[in-house]
């Protein structure tokens, strides 16, 4: 189902855990919907110096979390804000169609963490986090995955 790169990030996730004394914390999703992601950041000179994640969710959720931490580590906050869920999926070499709409909120978690950082710093920001991302999971192009026993 998943490609080798996704499986690698799932089985050997990078940057798991919590940054000590984080400068920003982002949490998106919730266990009711089946996936929830928590990002903690250390910021230095407007750059992401350290980043860790914790995720409750499926293979795609964990792999995208791991990947996003690799993608944004070392970037300036402006650069990091440009990273989208789509970029994460592409960096993983693609996700199964039915996973494109769900379990793919890693970039949102990073944005939420940066937003948190800005707010703590008293910096005004217009970052928007799509809290509703679960409700538009489409099924049009889905593969045939089902629980049919």
């Amino acid at each position: 189902m998943y490609n080798d790169k996704v499986m690698d990030h799932f089985f050997n996730p990078r940057n798991v855990g919590e940054v000590e004394n984080p400068d920003g914390v982002g949490q998106v999703g919730n266990p009711i919907c089946g996936d929830m992601m928590r990002i903690t950041l250390k910021i230095k000179d407007n750059r992401i110096e350290d980043i860790k994640f914790r995720t409750f969710g499926c293979g795609a959720a964990i792999a995208t979390s791991s990947m996003v931490t690799e993608l944004v580590k070392g970037l300036t906050l402006e650069e990091a804000l440009e990273v989208s869920n789509k970029h994460v999926a592409e960096a993983l070499g693609g996700l199964p169609p039915q996973k494109l709409h769900c379990s793919n909120l890693a970039a949102d978690a990073v944005r939420a963490a940066i937003k948190d950082y800005y707010e703590k710093q008293g910096i005004g920001t217009d970052i928007e986090i799509d809290e509703d991302h679960h409700h538009d999971r489409g099924h049009e192009e889905e593969e045939n995955i089902a629980h049919n026993e």
Partner: protein, 396 residues
């Protein structure tokens, strides 16, 4: 398999999803692919040979549920049998009434069929279950109205293994002159079934759940019960189900039924022992786990637990890597937005439902398989919980 680099063993524990065709069954089928390949409707020796093979299989299927051979219709599987029973009765009895009863915990093949009939204008009552997944016969009785024409309640629940009181429900249906269908896909061959004793009018069977081939199933239709055919065409299966008969498939299904009947009592005892060993082992070794389904009224091969603070797919992927096949009621494995409707109907929270795991035992499983699962599952859970932002393991 290539994606199982660390597996020291192959342990298939998904026998409720499907089973391998057992060697005796494949051996019975093989002559019918190329040598005895006739169409059972043909007027020549090739045809007669095929017709006889089907008749023979029909007797074996009937015998497993104590029915008469001419009460068995062959179909393409459990899904088609469910559709035929429910749509077939609804359409045939439409003039008698517009109300149908089923439960909230049916397989999608039943549930979605009732939902489709609802859209066509039928009134459907979906009776709830208790926290063990048990349907109360009295709840069914109360749902019956003057215009009720069909009750469908499954026998063995496919996800949580609860065995429903179909005999009692059947008696209530009969008392009220309502037809009673039961989906016995998961219980057939695992639990003795006698359609007459159990007051059953229609019963669904599927071959590939009992070591027969995929693509074959059957519907028991009690003598005298009228159905509107759902597949129209040639005059096959007493004009109730058109389509050239899948002769090798039917032959294999028959043989699988014969073997299931012969081995049922002993194999059920054996599976029950393994099942209880696995349940006890998991509950003992892993904290924050709950057993789903009924503790006693339970299919001999079903284990279903919820591993709190985790999502099912992530556990399945790790288990698979260790050579273990299982399933989950998580949304991520269901093709829908929601976790298992069965677990939710039993009152589980979404979160707990997402963390459900089903192990379905079968013929090939041994004590060593169970030991292996009890060895590999706890470290997987520990590793994933350490990664989870929720639960005590998260330290948050």
């Amino acid at each position: 398999m290539s994606s199982q680099p660390n597996a020291r063993r192959q342990v298939y524990l998904d026998h409720s999803a499907t089973t391998p065709v057992r060697p005796e069954v494949l051996a019975a089928m093989l002559p019918y692919f190329a040598g005895k390949f006739g169409n059972a409707s043909s007027v020549h020796s090739w045809g007669y040979e095929a017709r006889e093979a089907i008749n023979d299989a029909r007797e074996k299927v009937a015998s497993l549920i104590e029915a008469a051979p001419n009460e068995i219709l062959f179909t393409s599987g459990g899904t088609e049998s469910d559709n035929l029973a429910i749509r077939g009765v609804a359409r045939a009895r439409k003039s008698k009434g517009n109300h149908l009863i089923t439960s909230q915990i049916e397989h999608h093949a039943v549930l979605h069929t009732f939902e489709a009939l609802q859209k066509e204008g039928f009134d459907v009552t979906f009776v709830p279950c208790d926290k063990y997944g048990l349907i109360d016969p009295d709840g069914v009785r109360k749902a019956i109205r003057k215009d009720t024409i069909l009750i469908s309640v499954m026998h063995g629940q496919n996800e949580v293994g609860t065995i429903e009181p179909v005999k009692e429900i059947g008696a209530i249906a009969r008392e009220h002159g309502v037809l009673f269908h039961t989906d016995a896909v998961q219980s057939v061959g695992k639990v003795p079934i006698n359609v007459n004793d159990m007051n059953i009018d229609l019963l669904t069977l599927s071959s590939h759940k009992i070591y027969g081939p995929k693509g074959v199933g059957a519907l028991y239709v009690k003598r005298g019960v009228r159905l509107t055919p759902q597949l129209t065409g040639g005059a096959h299966e007493r004009r109730m189900r058109a389509g050239t008969e899948n002769v090798p498939g039917i032959v294999g299904f028959g043989e699988a039924c014969r073997l299931a009947k012969a081995e049922l009592p002993e194999e059920s005892r054996r599976l029950t022992k393994l099942r209880d060993k696995l349940i006890e082992g998991i509950l003992r070794q892993i904290p924050d786990v709950i057993l789903n389904g009924h503790p006693v009224l339970r299919l001999p091969h079903n284990v279903n637990v919820s591993i709190k603070y985790l999502e099912g797919e992530s556990i399945l992927l790790n288990l698979d890597r260790m050579g273990v096949a299982a399933s989950s009621g998580s949304a991520c494995t269901s093709g829908s937005l929601e976790p298992s409707h069965v677990l939710l109907a039993m009152g589980l929270t979404h979160e707990t439902a997402h963390g459900s795991l089903r192990f379905a035992l079968g013929m090939s499983n041994t004590e060593e398989d169970i030991d292996y699962v009890l060895e590999v599952l706890p470290p997987i859970v520990e590793k994933l919980r350490a990664m989870s932002p929720i639960g005590p393991g998260s330290g948050l």
